[in-house]
Amino acid sequence: MTTNPDGQAGAYTKTLLAGLWRENPVFRLLLGMCPTLAVTAAVKPALTMGFCVIFVLICSNIMVSLMRNFLKPHLRILMFTLTISTFVTIADLLLKAFLPAMSEKLGPYVPLIIVNCIIICRAEACASKSPMLMSVIDAIGMGVGFTVTLCVLAGVREVIGTGKFFEIQVMPSGFVPWAALTMPVGAFITLGFLLGLVNLISRKHS
């Protein structure tokens, strides 16, 4: 890929990396806040949610990219929603079949992926205007960026809130967990601090 004379490889790399930092859906675009705040009390549910979003993003971007030349402008949002809801339903069924305990833990937040702004945003901004390979790379970049962000947030909350990481005790026995961090208030506070940190780093870089 690196020898591609059209510079396609560079465009693919740029698109892939955009989701991780420059256009990170949570830290830079502030999209998908509902699952970001709701399922990040521990790393396991955050990771599961991340994988679900990656699956839905890839599948919906492929479908939207395939139908992009036939989309009528006034019907496109309807088509996006139809596509996304199909793959969210499939993801929900897969979770119920293979990870029933996690499906129960995530509760309504898996069906709520249907209204996750990240997915509809990528369908509109990228998949409806790009060929399939570029749409898939964009979906992977954005999905991984979202998942990493969720895991960072969940990691901080789980370690400080319970003394555990991935349900394994990591803090010394004398550590008193800050239980508030596992509650909704903890999600807002942690997200606020991490957003501040990201802004600080990006200002230094610029």
Binding site: M67, F70, L71, K72, L75, L78, M79, L82, T83, T86, T89, I90, L93, L94, K96, A97, F98, P100, E104, G107, P108, M183, P184
Partner: protein
């Protein structure tokens, strides 16, 4: 004719996509439904085992019960018999209440003579974490263990450790507490009556 042509020109993709996606969901559902049902049954058995620890086996009773759900809709309810050897040690059935966020599905266990509750557990719910989901906590559920298997009443004050037909509500989760108590009372009365009629318990 022209309007029909215009309609199909505009919406053919939507129609085709709807059929395709519908088929995709149907195929996935058909492939996974057996496993999902198996998971649900396994969970029911696990919860039932926790409610009636003396039981060695749970088997669906031959008789099904025709009752009215909370909204009045007719429902055929599966009944499970808990046994230890040849002896019946209790009965299990599911009840559905209308919670704060969604339906609350409960597993209800009663003793062999349908006189006292052995307890309940939550099979499925989407109640608010920290508030409504306290219906899963022991301090609330313990009030039902040994309570009379009939109409229950929700009270806002009182001693939650006293075992009787009065259930003390969860502070901050009145809707969820009410949903559980209403569903239990509604189902207990009907199931008991049906079981008497079918000769499963003594009149």
């Amino acid at each position: 004719m022209r309007s029909i042509k215009h309609f199909f020109e505009q919406s053919w993709l939507l129609i085709v996509a709807s059929f395709f996606f519908g088929l995709l969901i149907a195929v996935t559902n058909a492939a996974l439904s057996a496993r999902i049902t198996w998971n649900a049954t396994a969970k029911l058995n696990t919860l039932a085992g926790g409610l009636l620890p003396e039981a060695e086996a749970f088997a669906p009773a031959k008789e099904t019960l025709d009752i009215a759900a909370l909204g009045g809709k007719p429902q055929t309810l599966a009944l499970y018999k808990a046994t230890k050897g040849d002896e019946t040690v209790g009965w299990i059935f599911t009840a559905v209440g209308s919670g704060f966020a969604d339906k609350i599905e409960l597993v209800v266990a009663v003793d062999a003579r349908f006189e006292k509750l052995a307890g309940f557990d939550v099979l499925a719910s989407n109640e608010t974490p920290g508030f409504g989901d306290q219906i899963k906590y022991d301090y609330f559920r313990n009030q039902f263990k040994g309570a009379p298997a009939g109409t229950l009443t929700l009270v806002s004050g009182g001693n939650s450790e006293t075992i009787d037909a009065e259930i003390v509500t969860i502070s901050g989760a009145t809707v969820s507490s009410t949903a559980v108590v209403e569903a239990m009372s509604h189902y207990l009365v009907q199931v008991k009556e049906q079981m008497r009629q079918k000769g499963l318990i003594e009149p």
